[in-house]
C-alpha cells in the first residue's frame, strides 16, 4: 500500500508508522483496522467450523472427543456472533463509508470511535482467555443452570461479551449522532443512501438492546461467582427467566446482523441497475420498522421452554409481522432491476445470490415462527440451517458484496474480477451444499449440538461436510486475490462502478485524509441516476466529476 494512487496524498499514505495507525482518529483507518480484526475473527471461527464439520463426517469420534466438540461449536458461535458478525458491516463498512456518504469530515465522536475499537479488542481477548482458564461448552446461548455449573471459563466469556457490548453500543451511538447532526447541506432524509438508513436503524437496535446483554451476562457472572439465585433453580431462581433476558438482546441482535446487510444490498441494487431503488421510502422505513418490531418477538426461541401459552401466542403473531417489512424490501430490490440497466460485476453477483439465500433463510424463519411446527423443528438442524442461511447467506454474502464494492475505494486497487466471480460461485455452491442438507436432516429429527449421531443421518452430514470444503476453498480464493490486489492490483479509478453516493463522486480514490476539501452540497437523491450529469465510466477510466 506504499505508494497508492500515483503518489497523491490520501488517508493511507498521509502519515506513516505504527503510531499513525494505532492512534488514528480517522474513521477510514479505524474501519480498516476493524476489517483486519474482523477477518481474523472470521478466519478463526471458520476454522473451528471446519473442525466441527470434519468431526461430523462420521458418527462417533472422527477427530475429537465429545468435550472438544462441544467447546469447538460454542467457541465457533461466540467468535462468529460477538467478534465477527456484529461488528462486521457497521464497524468496517459503516465506519469507512458512512461519514463520506453523509458528506461529513468524520464521525461525531472520533475519539469514541477509536475507543470502541480498542474496547472490542480487549473484550475479544478476555473472551478468548476462557480458552486458557478452562472449558466453556454451554453453546452460545449459555442457558442456566448448565452454564453456571461448568468451569470458570464462563466468567471470562461473560466478561468478554460484557466489554464487547460497550464497543457495539458506542459505535451505534456514534453513528446515530453522526447521521442526525453531520449531514451535508442538501442531504435530506429522503436523499440519504439506503445504506445509511439501515445503519441508522441498526444503531438504534445496538443502543437499545446491547445494554440488556450487558446486564444479562453480568447477572450470569454473579450467578456463577456469588450464587445469587436469580436464574439457578437449585437456589430458587428461574432458568426460563434467563432465556428472556438472553433473547431480549439476542433476537434484536439478529437484526443488528441483517439490517446493515440490507443496506449494502440496497446500494448495490441501485448502483448496478443504474436505477432508482424502487419504493425508496418503503425500503428506508421498513428498516426502522424491522428494528422496532424486532424487539417484540424474542419469545419465539422459547416455544417449548415452558413459557406461558399467552406469551407464545403474542410472540408468534408478531414474528410473522416481521416478514412483511422484510418482504417489502425483497420485492423492491427485485423490481429495482425492472427496466434498469443491470451489470453483473462481482458485487452485484453477491447481491443476486443474497436474494436467493436470504429468502430461503427468511421463509424457513417464518416456518419456525409457526407454533405447532416449531415444536417439531426447535433445536434441530433445521434451526441450524435457518440461521446459517440468514447469517452466512444473508450477512456474510452481503458483507462480501460490500467488501468487493468498496475495496477499490478503500485501497485504491482493483482486484481480479475473473477470480472474484469464480470465488463467488464457489461460495454460493459450497454454501448451499453445506447447509441445505441440514434443513432436511433437521426436519427428519437430527438434533443440534450433537457430537454423535445415528447412522441414518450420515449421508446428509457428509454432503454438508463436503460443502464446507468447497466453501473453504472459495474463501481462500477470495483472501488470495484481495491480498494480491494490494501488491499488484490495477489502480482503481474514481468511480469504477458509476455509483452516485458521495464517496464515489466527491472524493479521491482512496479518499483524502479529510474526506473532502470543500463540504459537498447535495442536489439529488442517492439513486437519481437520471439527474446525474457526470459521465458514467467503465473500469479504471477517470471521469469528469461535476463538483471537482
Amino acid at each position: 500500500m506504499t505508494e497508492s494512487a500515483s503518489g497523491t496524498v490520501n488517508y493511507l499514505n498521509h502519515a506513516k508508522g505504527f503510531k499513525s495507525w494505532a492512534l488514528t482518529l480517522d474513521h477510514k483507518r479505524i474501519g480498516l483496522m476493524y476489517l483486519v480484526a474482523v477477518s481474523l475473527a472470521f478466519l478463526a471461527g471458520g476454522v473451528l467450523a471446519m473442525l466441527v464439520r470434519i468431526e461430523l463426517l462420521t458418527p462417533g469420534e472422527t477427530i475429537m472427543g465429545a468435550d472438544a466438540y462441544n467447546q469447538a461449536f460454542t467457541l465457533h458461535a461466540v467468535l462468529m456472533i460477538f467478534t465477527f458478525i456484529i461488528p462486521a458491516i457497521p464497524a468496517v463498512m459503516g465506519n469507512f463509508a458512512l461519514p463520506i456518504q453523509l458528506g461529513a469530515k468524520d464521525v461525531a465522536f472520533p475519539r469514541l470511535n477509536l475507543a470502541s475499537f480498542y474496547i472490542y479488542l480487549i473484550g475479544a481477548v478476555i473472551a478468548l482467555g476462557a480458552l486458557v482458564v478452562g472449558r466453556v461448552d454451554g453453546g452460545w446461548t449459555f442457558y442456566t443452570p448448565y452454564s453456571t455449573s461448568i468451569g470458570d471459563g464462563i466468567l471470562f466469556v461473560t466478561a468478554g461479551i460484557f466489554v464487547m457490548g460497550f464497543s457495539s453500543i458506542l459505535t451505534g451511538l456514534n453513528f446515530i449522532v453522526t447521521v442526525h447532526k453531520m449531514r451535508a447541506p442538501g442531504l435530506t432524509w429522503n436523499r440519504l443512501p439506503l445504506f445509511i438508513w439501515s445503519i441508522y436503524a441498526t444503531s438504534i437496535v445496538q443502543v437499545l438492546a446491547t445494554p440488556v446483554i450487558g446486564i444479562t451476562v453480568l447477572l450470569l457472572f454473579l450467578e456463577k461467582a456469588l450464587l445469587i439465585g436469580i436464574f439457578d433453580p437449585a437456589l430458587g431462581g428461574d432458568p426460563v427467566l434467563f432465556q428472556h433476558f438472553f433473547w431480549f438482546y439476542s433476537h434484536p441482535a439478529v437484526y443488528i446482523m441483517i439490517l446493515p446487510a440490507f443496506g449494502v444490498i440496497s446500494d448495490l441494487m441501485g448502483t448496478f441497475s443504474r436505477h432508482q431503488v424502487s419504493g425508496y421510502k418503503f425500503v428506508a422505513l421498513s428498516s426502522v420498522a424491522i428494528a422496532f418490531l424486532g424487539f417484540l418477538v424474542w419469545g419465539h426461541h422459547m416455544f417449548v421452554s415452558g413459557q406461558s401459552a399467552i406469551s407464545s401466542v403474542i410472540f408468534s403473531l408478531i414474528t410473522y409481522l416481521i416478514g412483511i417489512p422484510t418482504g417489502v424490501k425483497v420485492i423492491n430490490w427485485v423490481s429495482t432491476m425492472y427496466k434498469g440497466s443491470v451489470q453483473l460485476k462481482s458485487p452485484m453477483l453477491y447481491a443476486i445470490m443474497f436474494l436467493f439465500t436470504f429468502s430461503i433463510g427468511g421463509f424457513t424463519g417464518i416456518m419456525l415462527g409457526v407454533l405447532a411446527i416449531d415444536i417439531h423443528l426447535h433445536d434441530t438442524y433445521f434451526v441450524v440451517a435457518h440461521f446459517h442461511y440468514v447469517m452466512m447467506g444473508g450477512n456474510v454474502i452481503a458483507a462480501l458484496g460490500g467488501l468487493h464494492y468498496w475495496w477499490p475505494k478503500m485501497t485504491g486497487k482493483l482486484y481480479n474480477e475473473m477470480l472474484a466471480k469464480v470465488a463467488a460461485v464457489l461460495v454460493f455452491i459450497g454454501f448451499n451444499l453445506t447447509f441445505f442438507p441440514q434443513f432436511i436432516m433437521g426436519a427428519q429429527g437430527m438434533p443440534r449440538r450433537y457430537y454423535d449421531y445415528l447412522p441414518e443421518f450420515q449421508g446428509y452430514h457428509q454432503l454438508s461436510t463436503y460443502g464446507s470444503w468447497v466453501l473453504g476453498v472459495g474463501f481462500l480464493l477470495i483472501a488470495y486475490y484481495l491480498i494480491a490486489s494490494l501488491f499488484k492490483g490495477k489502480k482503481a479509478g474514481l468511480n469504477p462502478w458509476g455509483a452516485l453516493t458521495l464517496e464515489w463522486t466527491h472524493t479521491t480514490t482512496p479518499p483524502d485524509h479529510h474526506n473532502f476539501h470543500e463540504t459537498p452540497v447535495v442536489t439529488r437523491g442517492a439513486y437519481d441516476f437520471h439527474l446525474a450529469t457526470e459521465l458514467f465510466q467503465g473500469d479504471g477510466e477517470v471521469t469528469e466529476l461535476k463538483n471537482h
Partner: protein, 308 residues
C-alpha cells in the same frame, strides 16, 4: 423413508403428527411458490435488462402505490391464516385428553428414567400402549433437557424446577427414537432412549412382569442403563472408568492412596461418588443416585460384580 414419511419429515406415528404435517406442507408450499416467483422474476430481470450500452441511463419507473400496498396486504393475510392454524394446533398439542395414561419422566445427565403409575421403572426404553393417549410428566434432576420424539412431532423442555408435560397417542406398534434436544453437557448427544409402542395387552403384561421381583443382578442390569452414558462394560474408557473386571482389584485414587474395590467401595462410589475419586478421572459423577432404594443399589453392585 417409512410408510408415510417423506424426504422432509419422518413417519407420522401419532394422532396429531398428521395434522402438524398438513400445516408444515401448507407453509412449505406457499413459501416455495412465493420464493420461486421472486427468483424467477429476479433471473428474468437480470437477463432481460442486462447492461449493453455503458452510457445508457434508464429513466425512473413510476411507482405504483397500489402495488406497494398489495405487497403488504397479501402476505399479511397469508401469515394470519398460518398463525391461526398453527395456534389452534398448538393448543391441541399442549392439552392432553383427561383420560391419558400417565408416565413420570425424569431427565438427568445423561439418561432418561421412566416411572409408571404401577410403580414399575424403566430406563432407556419407554413402553407405551398403542391407541391410548399417554401423558408424560417430566422433570429434571440437574440441568435443562428436552424431550423429543420426531415420529410423534412432540418436544418439550424438561426443567429442574417445574413439571412440564407432553402427550401423544401412538397409532402403530413399533420402536421410535427419543432424543434430548437441549444442550446439557458432554454426553448430550448420548442422552437417547427409545419409545416402544406395544399393544394394550402386551403393555399390561409388561407392566406386570416389571412389578415382579427380579434377581438382583438382572435388576442391576436394567438400572445400569442410566450409567451407560459414562461407564462402558467392555473395558473402553468413556467419561468414567469401565466397570467390568473392577470388582476385587486394587484401585488407585486421585489422592494417591489405593483401595480394594470391594462391595463397600462400589456402594460408596454410587452413593457418594465424591468421597473417593478414581485416579485419572474428573470428579463429575452425579451425586443424584443416593436416592435409590437399598434393593436397587444392591442390584447395581451385584451386576457390577458379575461383569467380567
Amino acid at each position: 423413508m417409512g410408510d408415510n414419511g417423506s424426504v422432509w419429515l419422518p413417519d407420522a406415528m401419532s394422532t396429531l403428527a398428521g395434522e402438524v404435517d398438513a400445516l408444515f406442507w401448507f407453509v412449505f408450499w406457499t413459501s416455495t411458490i412465493i420464493f420461486a416467483m421472486v427468483i424467477v422474476a429476479k433471473l428474468y430481470f437480470v437477463f432481460r435488462y442486462k447492461r449493453t450500452d455503458d452510457k445508457y441511463v434508464p429513466s425512473p419507473v413510476h411507482e405504483s402505490q397500489a402495488l406497494e400496498a398489495a405487497w403488504i396486504v397479501l402476505p399479511t393475510i397469508l401469515t394470519l391464516i398460518v398463525f391461526t392454524w398453527g395456534f389452534d394446533l398448538f393448543v391441541k398439542m399442549s392439552t392432553p385428553p383427561p383420560d391419558s395414561y400417565e408416565i413420570t419422566v425424569r431427565g438427568k445427565q445423561w439418561a432418561w428414567e421412566f416411572e409408571y403409575a404401577e410403580g414399575a421403572l424403566s430406563f432407556s426404553e419407554m413402553y407405551v400402549p398403542v391407541g391410548r393417549p399417554v401423558k408424560l410428566i417430566m422433570s429434571s434432576t440437574d440441568v435443562l433437557h428436552s424431550f423429543f420424539i420426531p415420529e410423534f412431532r412432540i418436544k418439550h423442555d424438561v426443567l429442574p424446577n417445574r413439571y412440564t408435560s407432553v402427550w401423544f397417542e401412538a397409532t402403530q406398534a413399533g420402536r421410535y427414537q427419543i432424543y434430548c434436544t437441549e444442550y446439557c453437557g458432554t454426553e448430550h448427544s448420548g442422552m437417547l432412549a427409545e419409545v416402544v409402542v406395544v399393544s394394550e395387552e402386551d403393555f399390561a403384561s409388561w407392566i406386570l412382569e416389571q412389578s415382579q421381583d427380579l434377581p438382583p443382578a438382572e435388576l442391576g442390569e436394567q438400572l445400569f442403563a442410566q450409567c451407560a452414558a459414562c461407564h462402558a462394560i467392555d473395558g473402553s474408557v468413556k467419561i468414567g472408568p469401565p466397570l467390568n473386571g473392577l470388582y476385587g482389584t486394587q484401585r488407585a485414587l486421585a489422592d494417591g492412596s489405593t483401595v480394594t474395590a470391594d462391595e463397600d467401595y462400589l456402594k460408596e462410589s454410587i452413593l457418594n461418588p465424591a468421597a473417593k475419586i478414581a485416579a485419572g478421572y474428573q470428579p463429575i459423577m452425579p451425586a443424584g443416585y443416593s436416592g435409590m432404594s437399598a434393593k436397587q443399589i444392591d442390584g447395581l453392585v451385584a451386576y457390577i460384580k458379575s461383569l467380567e
